[in-house]
């Protein structure tokens, strides 16, 4: 893989970089996907970007929900109170 002279119908790298998420989601028309595959085969820079996006997705996936949004104890207690009232009022409770 080398930084070859781009083919005449080659996509610019800017466009490939903007389409990485569409590419990873398989949301592109087959012809567009093929053009990106052809571009990636010859472009080290865009291949690095694709790899880094994949790594970013996996690394973000290692976050736990509690890294981002913690359930505070007060809210938890409020909701358990809601549950107890609901359970007590249930027919047959």
């Amino acid at each position: 893989m080398t930084q070859d002279v781009p083919a005449d119908d080659d996509l610019p790298c800017t466009q490939v970089v903007m389409l990485i998420t569409d590419y990873l989601d398989d949301a592109l028309a087959p012809a567009d996907r093929d053009r990106i595959d052809e571009h990636l085969a010859d472009c080290d820079g865009c291949t690095v970007v694709l790899d880094q996006f994949r790594t970013t997705v996996r690394t973000t996936g290692m976050l736990q929900t509690e890294d981002l949004d913690r359930l505070d104890p007060g809210t938890r207690d409020d909701l358990l109170g809601v549950f107890r009232r609901w359970a007590a009022e249930r027919p047959g409770a």
């Binding site: 080290d44 290692m62 358990l80 359970a87 249930r90």
Partner: protein, 214 residues
């Protein structure tokens, strides 16, 4: 924590099992808050939406038939509650607008590419270099994880919600688009912008000390 299947959880809730409820709340609550934030403005309103949702979930639990997952069902209740409250707040649904485009190309400055007068317009002048360290390995150690958590926390709200649902909670694109009431295309635009910023933060972290940022 190994979670029981939906059917067992629902059965436990119907029996009035408080521990089962506490577990479900622990599991769903942060996600519900994230989605609610897409519909209403204040923290107080977010809290109201989520609390109303849990009440509606309990009232409706006998009607849950297991045709969708418990998560999908709870989220659909939340979206209904949030929409009616958003109407009262006279708030326009914020995710419908993507906000201004970010500078550069997915976090790469325009100077990284050849201009229109270049030999190959739009191709790299300064291509990125591969990361020498695997951030997944160091994410386990915690430092990289906090870099990513901070980058996610710093995102505009709509981008933060989408990347969290997609890449942390593991939702599909169509699920996120439906829950937030946006098109799949707009969902992907928000996701791409969010991932671009997290990638940039990881890049700065991983190349710190090497005297460059790619």
């Amino acid at each position: 924590m190994v979670l029981a299947g939906d059917a067992a959880v629902v059965e436990a809730l119907r029996r009035g099992d408080e521990r089962a409820f506490a577990e479900v709340v622990e599991r769903f609550h942060p996600m519900l808050r994230r989605i609610a934030r897409g519909y209403v403005r204040t923290d107080e309103a977010v809290g109201d939406v989520v609390q109303e949702t849990w009440i509606a979930v309990l009232r409706g639990i006998d009607r849950f038939e297991g045709r969708s997952s418990l998560r999908t069902w709870v989220v659909s209740i939340l979206v209904n509650v949030a929409r009616s409250l958003a109407v009262k707040e006279a708030r326009t649904v914020p995710f419908a607008s993507l906000g201004p485009a970010d500078d550069g190309v997915a976090g790469f400055g325009p100077e990284r590419f050849q201009g229109p007068d270049g030999e190959y317009p739009g191709h790299w002048t300064t291509p990125p270099t591969p990361w020498t360290e695997d951030p997944e390995a160091s994410a386990l150690a915690g430092e990289t994880r906090s870099v990513v958590a901070q980058a996610v926390a710093a995102l505009p709200e709509s981008q933060r919600t989408v990347i969290t649902l997609r890449d942390v909670d593991g939702w599909t694109g169509p699920e996120v688009a439906a829950a937030l009431g946006i098109s799949e295309g707009n969902q992907r635009v928000l996701l791409h912008r969010a991932r671009a910023k997290v990638r940039l933060a990881l890049d700065a972290h991983l190349t710190a000390g090497e005297g460059r940022a790619s």
